[in-house]
Amino acid sequence: MFRRILIANRGEIALRIIRACHELDIEAICVISEEDRGAAYLDLADRTICIGGPEPRDSYLKSDRIVAAAEVTGADALHPGYGFLAESAAFAEKCRASNIEFIGPSAEAMRLLGDKATARSVAKKAKVPTTPGSEGIITDESELVEIAEKIGYPVIIKASAGGGGRGMRIVRKKSELVTTFKQAEQEAKGAFDSTDLYMEKYIEKPKHVEVQMIADTHGNVVHLGERDCTVQRRYQKLIEESPSPAIDSRTRNNLCAAAVKLTKAADYAGAGTVEFLVDGKGKFYFIEVNTRIQVEHPVSEMTTGIDLIKTQIRVAAGEHLGFSQRAIKPRGHAIECRINAEDPSEDFRPCPGVVTKFRTPGGPGVRVDTYGHDNCRISPRYDSLLAKVIVHQPTREEAIQSMRRCLREFIIEPIHTTLPFLRRVLAHPDFTAGKIDTGFVERTLS
């Protein structure tokens, strides 16, 4: 097992990793930027080492300095957390080249699944359903019509150079197909100076459901059930829960089985998440893989009782998982709410500053992961995530009641946070009924 781990991250996830290290009797060293000097969560680290200025590009993204910090502090492993360099295969290789184990999958697996296109082909090979569409650019009208017929309407035409919603057009019937395609071509020409377009099946009112995977280097692959992350805003997850209220047990089994197949196909070791879109009929389509621990990992920890960070560290050290799929028996219902330092009434504009009053909720089944405290300072330079509240109860109804209670108890002053917004979601009948899709927030609460 490792003797000393360098944590190449900050805030709540750095604190989370420190605690995991200490329960394994491993020293935890935090790299910090000058901005984070004196932050309270660092009191729990065995040592800190400053690697650069406040801007991420000068510190938390400076791979050379981070590896140098691991070397001078004598760390034998490095945990990247999420964000920053967590999904950089090059960084993983750089660490391992310096005999510092990168706590994550192999660089090969990261490259294979990190890229959407290659991940999609791995999925196809593994017989994991993907969104049907034109493989690549559409060259002529006959091909266009032919593919549309094959995959069925509605379809969505996307500009290769587009993204984030730009350069997309939905076609609901054949009669509109060709004209819409021509308009899209014009638009793409103007916007991106490229007429390259491709086409995919358009999934109506989808739900976002992901599967938490954990695998060791001895071929043992186990899933910890799914998480429903349908409550999002501009692709930013706001609330996650498990089990998903949107799928039945058959869909659940197929979804998890598909995730296992994909993970095995990529010869993947470590913690990872396979993300799917699920349509109204329970049909699911692979989107992408996150080759790292995720913000919402506590949801699965609550239902399964497995500590994902400790397990990540163990398997990175070459140990066996120590539990089989049959040993995983999810219990009850868990919900996580992300409390961000953002103003929901001002289009979720970040609200950094000093928190003078910080009162966290507590009680049975309640977990709060946060670096916050009275008079803590929230930097404008980093992620606005201030706290995660996770509740665990026997049923979804009780979990919602418990979360409402926690959101009422939580006091953060004087800055704006997403607390009022989250209270509205937890009180909304569509949410409590579990009848929402990824458009819920924009449609209903914006």
Partner: protein, 157 residues
């Protein structure tokens, strides 16, 4: 020392206006005043008034876990620091058999190499931008240093 009259004015202001806290900083002057009602997490009050980006030269509050940081004492006032621009291992000489680049009392011109920092097997020559006399060497040979850590104190000319 700050002007006591100013502070008394501040205190009166707090009491008469029923303020709960006053935090001020002017250059490296700093005042924090508080009255009951707020619960403090006992963090260094500097945190409350930390400038957006402190320059590495000025004494920034350090976490107790940052043992690498030396205390810059009073008699050092007026001296300038040469700080580490990177994370690495400090070497005072080009190789174990050679003399150190600089010694205490030695005069240095700007641009002169004062030490070597090794990071990831690469040896980087560190040059001083300050011209003057080396007053103190704050780190030992082969010691690991972090970014922004003061290495030398120089009395500028």
């Amino acid at each position: 020392m700050l002007d006591i009259k100013k502070i008394r004015e501040l205190v009166e202001m707090m009491v008469t206006n029923d303020l709960v806290e006053i935090s001020l900083r002017d250059g490296n002057e700093e005042v924090n005043l508080r009255r009951p009602n707020t619960e403090m997490a006992g963090l260094p009050p500097e945190l409350l008034v930390r400038p957006a980006s402190p320059n590495p030269g000025s004494p920034v509050p350090t976490a107790p876990e940052a043992p690498l940081f030396p205390v810059v004492e009073e008699e050092d006032a007026g001296l300038e620091e040469i700080c580490s621009p990177m994370v690495g291992t400090f070497y005072s000489a080009s190789d174990p058999d050679s003399d150190p680049f600089v010694t205490v009392g030695q005069r240095v011109q700007s641009g002169m190499v004062v030490c070597i920092l090794e990071a990831m097997k690469v040896f980087n020559e560190i040059k001083t931008e300050v011209a003057g006399t080396i007053e103190r060497i704050l780190v030992k040979n082969a010691q690991s240093v972090e970014y922004g850590q003061p290495l030398f104190l120089v009395r500028p000319e």
